[in-house]
Amino acid sequence: MSQTFAQKALARASGVSGIKPGQIVDAFPDVYMSHTASWRCIKTLESLGTEQLYDRDRIAMVMDHISPANTAKTAADQRLCREFAQRMEIKNFFDVDSGIAHVVLMEGGLIKPGQLIIGTDSHSTIYGALGAFGTGVGYSEITAAWVTGKLWMRVPESLRLKIDGSFLPGTYAKDLMLYLIGKLGADGATYQSVEFHGDLVRSLSISERMTLTNLAMEMGCKNAFVPPDNKTRDYLAAAGLGEGDYEELQPDADAVYERTVELDLSTLSPQIAVPHTVENVVPISEVTGTKVDQVFIGSCANAKLDDLLIAADILKGHKVAPGVRLIVTPASRMIMAQAGHEGALTTLLEAGAMVTNPGCGACAGNGGAMADGEVTLSTANRNFRGRMGSYNASIYLSSPATAAASAVAGVITDPRELAR
C-alpha cells in the first residue's frame, strides 16, 4: 500500500514489488515508440550486429516529424524504415500520412492504462492522459530495448497536483498548463512523476487531458498521469479496447508525495508564454496588441479535434488579417477527416487558413520557418530560440482560441474580446 502511480507502474513493468523512489530497476516497456528518429534506431541496430528482436509487436514507428519527406536524405531515411518494418514484420508502422505519433497511437488503441511506454520524444509524457506511464528516451535506448526488451529506470518521486474550479469562457486546458509552468518553472517537476487530480481535471475530456500531460514535460517531469475514469474507458472503447483488455492503476489514497500543489483556477484568464522559454508566462493582457506575422495551430499539444473546432468557431465569418499567415496542421489523419465531416476545414479555409497534411509540421521546423525579426503565435509546446527558422525570430505560445482570435486581428488578442 501507500504507493504512487509511478511506483505501481514501474513495479508492474519490472516485476519488482515494493519499490521506492530513487531505486533503479530494469523495466520492460509495453511499447517502444520511435518517430522520425526510427532510422537512427535502425542504423544503431546495424552497429550492434544483430537482428534478434525481443518482441517486434512492441515496436511502433510513426513517420511524423518530417512528413512528407523534404529532401532526398529524409526520403532515403524513411525508405529505410519502411523496408525495415516490412522485412522485420513490424505491424505497427505508420507512414508519413498518419499524423503525430502520440495521437496516432492513442487513437489507434495501442496505448493502455498502466502500461510503460518509452518513446524517442520528450512529449511521450502525453500517454498519461490514458493512465499509462509514458516517458521520453534517446534513440539508443529504443534500439537497446528492441534487442533486450528492457531499460534502466529510476523510480521517480511524485508531485501531486490538485486542480479545482472551472474555466471561465475563453480559457482552456492550455491556459491552465501555461499558468502552471509559469508558476512552478521549467524545472519545477524535474525527474518527478506528475499526478493530476482534482475536480477540474476530472471534468476534462481525454483530448484536454492530453494537453495537460503533454505540457507537463515543460516542467521537466519524467511522466505525467491522470487517473483513468469513465471518460478514459469511453475513449479506449472508441479505440477498440474493452475493459478486459487492460488493467488500470490508481495511486493509493495514502501514497507519499514529495510535494502537493493545490490550485483553484476559477478566475484564470488566457495565458501566453513569451520568448524564449516556456516558463516565461504572462496573462494575455500584458502582451495584447503584439503584432504577429504567423499563427500556427498544430502540434501534439493542441491540434486535436476539439482544438480545430474551437479555432473554426472563432474564425467563422472572419478573415485572417492581411499579411498574416495562418497555418493549421491537424494532429492526425483521423482528426483531419473528422474536422472535415464537421465542416471545420471548410470554415478554416474560407477564413484564409493554410490547412496542411497531418503531422508535426511547423512545430518540428518542417515548414513555417520565420525570417529575422518575425513573430509567430503558436499552439505548440515550445518557444525556444531558433525552433522555427531564424535564431532572431520570436515564438509566443497560446491556446487555439487565442491563436485564432489573434490571426483575425493580426495582433495578440484575447479571444473573449473578439467574440464580443
Partner: protein, 167 residues
C-alpha cells in the same frame, strides 16, 4: 573515464536542446558533423570556444527540451568530456549516461566556475575541482557507472551480447 580535466566554457540557465543542436541538423547522427552545429544559435565565437573546452558548465535545467540524443553526441563530437551543471533536464541526463558523456550535478562547482576555469572531474570518487577548489558530488550508482564506463549504452549492450554468445 574516471578522471577528465580541462578548461571550461560557462553557459547560463535553461540551455535548451534547440540551442545545443537545432532540429534542422538532426538528419545526421555523425558526431563530427553534428559538432559543427553545436551551440550554433549562440554564434561562432561561442562555438569556437566550445572546441577549446573539454568541460561545459551550465546553470540550472541544462539540456531542457527535446529527447534528441544528438544534444549529447554533438558535444562529444566537439571534444567535450563532461558537463557540470547546477541541475540537468531528465532526458539530457539520461542521454549523457547512455552516450558516455559525464554529467555532474554540482550547484557549488557550477557557481564557482568562470569562463576558462580549469575544471577536473573525478567521476569515481565524486569530486569536481574548479581552479583548485574541490566540491563533492554524488557519483553514478554502480548500475549506471558501468554504462558510462563502457562508453555508453550501445557499446555496453554490444559487450553483453558478445558475452552471451560466447557463454
Amino acid at each position: 573515464m574516471a578522471s577528465v580535466a580541462g578548461s571550461c566554457l560557462v553557459l547560463g540557465d535553461n540551455v535548451d536542446t534547440d540551442v545545443i543542436i537545432p532540429a534542422r541538423y538532426l538528419v545526421s547522427i555523425d558526431r563530427e558533423e553534428l559538432a559543427g552545429h553545436a551551440l550554433e544559435p549562440l554564434g561562432p565565437q561561442v562555438q569556437a570556444r566550445l572546441r577549446q573546452s573539454p568541460i561545459v558548465v551550465g546553470g540550472s535545467n541544462f539540456g531542457c527540451g527535446s529527447a534528441r540524443e544528438q544534444a549529447t553526441t554533438c558535444l562529444l563530437g566537439a571534444g567535450v568530456k563532461a558537463v557540470v551543471a547546477k541541475s540537468f533536464s531528465r532526458v539530457f541526463y539520461r542521454n549523457s549516461i547512455n552516450t558516455g558523456l559525464l554529467a555532474v550535478t554540482s550547484p557549488e562547482a557550477a557557481g564557482a566556475a568562470r569562463d576558462g576555469s580549469l575544471v577536473e572531474v573525478d567521476s569515481a570518487s565524486g569530486v569536481v575541482t574548479v581552479d583548485g577548489a574541490a566540491f563533492s558530488f554524488i557519483p553514478y550508482p554502480p548500475e549506471l557507472a558501468k554504462i558510462v564506463e563502457a562508453g555508453g549504452l550501445i557499446p555496453y549492450v554490444a559487450a553483453q551480447l558478445r558475452e552471451e554468445a560466447s557463454a
